[in-house]
Assembly symmetry: C3
Homo-oligomer: 349 residues x 3
Amino acid sequence: MALSFTLSRFVELLGGERHGDDVLITGVSALEKAAEGEIGFLANPRLRAQLQSSKAAAFIVRPAESASLDRPHIVTRDPQLYFAQVAQLLHPRPVARAGIHPRAVVDSLAFVAKSAQIGPGAVVEAGAQIGERTIVMANAYIGEQVEIGADCLIHPNTSVHRGAFIGDRVILHSNAVIAGDGFGNAWAVDHWEKIPQLGRVLIGHDVEIGSCTTVDRGALNDTIIGNGARIDNLIQVAHNVQIGEHTAMAACVGIAGSTKIGARCQIGGAVMISGHLEICDGVTVLGGTLVGKTIREAGVYSGSYPMQTHDDWRHNAAHLRHLDELAKRVKQLEKEILVLQYPVKKLEE
Amino acid sequence: MALSFTLSRFVELLGGERHGDDVLITGVSALEKAAEGEIGFLANPRLRAQLQSSKAAAFIVRPAESASLDRPHIVTRDPQLYFAQVAQLLHPRPVARAGIHPRAVVDSLAFVAKSAQIGPGAVVEAGAQIGERTIVMANAYIGEQVEIGADCLIHPNTSVHRGAFIGDRVILHSNAVIAGDGFGNAWAVDHWEKIPQLGRVLIGHDVEIGSCTTVDRGALNDTIIGNGARIDNLIQVAHNVQIGEHTAMAACVGIAGSTKIGARCQIGGAVMISGHLEICDGVTVLGGTLVGKTIREAGVYSGSYPMQTHDDWRHNAAHLRHLDELAKRVKQLEKEILVLQYPVKKLEE
Amino acid sequence: MALSFTLSRFVELLGGERHGDDVLITGVSALEKAAEGEIGFLANPRLRAQLQSSKAAAFIVRPAESASLDRPHIVTRDPQLYFAQVAQLLHPRPVARAGIHPRAVVDSLAFVAKSAQIGPGAVVEAGAQIGERTIVMANAYIGEQVEIGADCLIHPNTSVHRGAFIGDRVILHSNAVIAGDGFGNAWAVDHWEKIPQLGRVLIGHDVEIGSCTTVDRGALNDTIIGNGARIDNLIQVAHNVQIGEHTAMAACVGIAGSTKIGARCQIGGAVMISGHLEICDGVTVLGGTLVGKTIREAGVYSGSYPMQTHDDWRHNAAHLRHLDELAKRVKQLEKEILVLQYPVKKLEE
């Protein structure tokens, strides 16, 4: 919290060009509430007026804003990204306080790196490996044979089940569940038989997984989340799903079993993706869409019912139930009008 | 469980008018299964017949039911509300058993009120404050600098992260996550950089938040939930969202970042609300609607695809993909028929 | 892990017909990655080619595949079910290590069967009963008066609240919440009053409930999940809901209060079901459907907006807001064309 950097130090570390005094920065802020010692950024040129009224000590702006700005600032092509990096410098990730809390329960056959931190109430089962500088917070559960890399942050009350592999610098947010059983059932005359879920979950490096998100273990093969993927809160990743590198998905998404999602996709909130599909690299799906078929071309996809006042909706939605009939009536009209237009010759149908 | 009240005592405390014997009430029940000593209520006049067959000792009814009811009852304008209050008297919220369980882990720099109860396995970090008579149940996590008011009930396995502010009489249900990081990422050539989430979560008084609901901390500003709001289970409240006072939302709702929802709104189940919108006071959104634009007028809104048999749906939904074309064909027909109706003059198109 | 069976032993235990050598099987696998000692299965005849290339030691196939298969195999009518049973034999459910972990917190008034296993950090409150051979894993919470049958598996960080009844052989996955309060509020002039939730949750035998799924306690009556039901992850089951025996529902489903779902239904992912409805036995609802009315006939139902490219969607969805008007225009055209077709007689409208 007590960290501070001069503008020139930021430029040294992150690039960009400094203009104006080399002021000392102790925090980041939104333009409209920035106070002394804080730096803000302008990404949207339409909000330019905020630069004038802001009390920030310095700004991060695009080249186009620089000439008219007579206060200290850094010029860069992507102010939001620069701002993110500045914020990371001022607010680094928590540093592990090496050691196992006396109230943690670590099996004698677990391997915990010397520099790792295991919080109170955390449980680490036999055969689990916790990497260097990784933090396992309070009351988290790390199952048998789980392998967690270096510099990870496992938040409180998270459950990571048997055999999951988690790379380096991964963040698992609170109450997420990794490698619980997939939903596998076979109908047996008059009841469901459970299909044992024997695959693993493999999570790459630099992945972030949100609170209350569930990533199921594979049935026979593995569920895989590629390097750099960003998975928000309350997301269901079913068994055998594969998510490509650097794909990001907003909250409340559901992905059914065995679907493969490519790299660098962006999946909007509440998108639901059916099972056994493939979505190629570079696909954007807008929020609320039900993806019911494979997508083979990069691009932007959507499909959601537009909101209206309830009265309007009632009048309109009723016709959806009879759209097929309406289309047939239009076709019939087209035929009949053709007869009227050319009444003398018989038309073939 | 052993509490009991006479009808006249209820009237004294809650208002209403007593008719018939002043019987002793020891419990509440649904009309159809009420037993001796229990009180039931009738809100829906169409279910009036249940009054006759019910074995309840007494009833809570509207004025219109009173004359024809010769058994003990209380007359009030809102029987459901009265019933809720009666049930609160008979089943008061749990009372804190003051003290820190020996298996709780409370940092020496945390402040826990004398009358508060900290359950087994609960972890309270440095700088956290727990108010008078607040109960923190088993295995809950209260992060650094979290401030929780008086008379709150924090259920088991809940995670409340650094710096969250929670008012008085707030209920957080199990496995809810408050003030986890918002979903903030900036694209950096070939990967996502995490945007540190530096805002807080501020929750007012008398708020109830459901199980497995996630309320993310703000990015720079705060995520705010107003007094008296009711948030059901499995709801995502993204960073910088503001929810107005006494707004209620049913389960499985998602609210994307920076959206402001007004006061006294009612948001149905599974409603998904896009980011950076404003919804004014007094808006009702029906279940399953995707709210993709700002709502400036109070009223009832909806937008969901109506269910059909799968066969009917297949026939109808196919046309949705070509609705634009169908509309154009109708326009064309209108033009052509005009020509037929007025064949002698040329029509301008 | 070290279990092994011969094919003839499988046939003895599970039926079916053995063909070829009586090889020893030590594991199950997908056809394409099976290794020595592993058995695979073929359910889909179109994937028949995989039999040839597979390195599995033996196969489970339908009668139709047997003649052309010269490697060891078992013939059965339902290879997937047979495979599930084989996998259960090779990978039996974990066996309870009888005893209470020294770091568990079990109230002196709780009853834990001798053969049950209570994991570290688990909390079992007064009056709770844990049946024979049931495993309560790390940091799970079992509330007052909860009754859990025999041979159950309660995963880490799960919360089971006061008074819930859970049958035998039930699996509760991690971070599920059973018997939290239902969402009951009565409006009182200017704020919501909480309606105490006094019902219970009753869960039958052989039920499986997924990670981060929430099953609310009833308001006055009980929430009931029938024997053999399969409930996936991130599902909301509201107060007073009843789910029939052997009904299965995929992830991200929401069921609003007091709805009754019949037996042997299959509810697809992300289906949202409104409150106070009835769905009869044997109904299948496809993923993403909003069920807004009672279903009285078994069959397949759906209702979801089809995905398109965003450009196509924009053109088509716009017309949804004016579908009522479009339908009226078609009706008008039909009238006008009739006049043109029969110009001499006046038409009654």
